[in-house]
Symmetry: C2
């Protein structure tokens, strides 16, 4: 019977799947390919994951849980430090950057998960936290640019060490929001 707890093989499947998903895309990767890379057969995967969808979902869950927790924590506060919030968001997505990248690049393909609405929801909650409720469009746009741009930096500067990438990315987000930069 499939156990929710980690079996050795289960984690090997997840690792192989993530690698292939990152390389060729989720929808473009079949269970046969995942199985072949591990030297097992397709039905073996079904012992560990009830369906293809559940496999994808298991990969996405850590990131989703972490960002949800981050947002909930700040929403519970009565005052928000925008710079700390942006930094926390960067750190969470950077920690799971392969999955973040996979999600961002395949929002449509992954629409069978609740991810599309979920990520849009994150954005609106981040805007509310960063600008306050009912901010004018101009301020909202600057928050969208700040948050979205951070994701783009992770994509385009994927080869840079995080010690360089993190301050550069956060500074760009601060600038978009009109906040003082780190160097200043």
């Amino acid at each position: 019977m499939p156990r929710a707890r980690s079996s050795e093989t289960r984690e090997r499947i997840q690792a192989a799947a993530l690698e292939l998903f990152a390389a060729k895309g989720v929808q473009q990767t079949s269970l046969r390919e995942i199985a072949e890379r591990l030297g097992v057969t397709k039905p073996a995967l079904y012992y560990h994951f009830a369906s293809r969808e559940e496999l994808v979902r298991s990969l996405v869950r850590p990131l989703v849980d972490e960002v949800e927790a981050l947002l909930a924590a700040d929403e519970a506060r009565e005052s928000v430090d925008p710079r700390a919030l942006l930094a926390g968001y960067f750190d969470a997505t950077y920690r799971h950057r392969r999955i973040t990248l996979m999600i961002v690049r395949e929002l449509v393909t992954l629409s069978y998960l609740d991810l599309g609405e979920r990520i849009a929801d994150w954005r609106w909650r981040l805007i509310a936290l960063l600008t306050g409720p009912d901010a004018p469009l101009d301020a909202q746009a600057r928050a969208i640019v700040a948050v979205g741009g951070m994701g783009d930096c992770m994509v385009f500067f994927a080869d840079r060490p995080v010690e360089e990438l993190r301050p550069a990315t956060l500074n760009a987000a601060y600038a978009a929001l009109g906040l003082p930069l780190i160097g200043d």
Copy 2:
């Protein structure tokens, strides 16, 4: 014989395809669905397009040509006005916003086209135009945030009239780059 010139039906196919692609994604839309929406059969599509790929390519071409021309024009100049460049880029992508959205959300899925490299290439050329060559990472990140954020604004404020959206979006991009805002 299939004509390159517009036939009535050819354009109806493109319109139906674009609508379905925007709603459910490119890879998730089959030729059968496109044909059914038009009340014709699948092989009828093959009279107008040699393959599925050619159909997709025909939809993408107007945007690609326009952005390429925009970049080439500015690259030929000896001095660049960043605000004009950003505005031109906004206008081009807004004019073809359904296709832009489709491409951005499915970069991986559309990898069989040259789009992945092409769009990454656009970004680097925009960075070079906006920051000059060999700019430090900090400046490059701000350019990435500015350009990428504009796309995000188009997604998240898709319901706003362009008279509001355009200045708000451009202002956010200017802020990311540290340029003076429109209102100032």
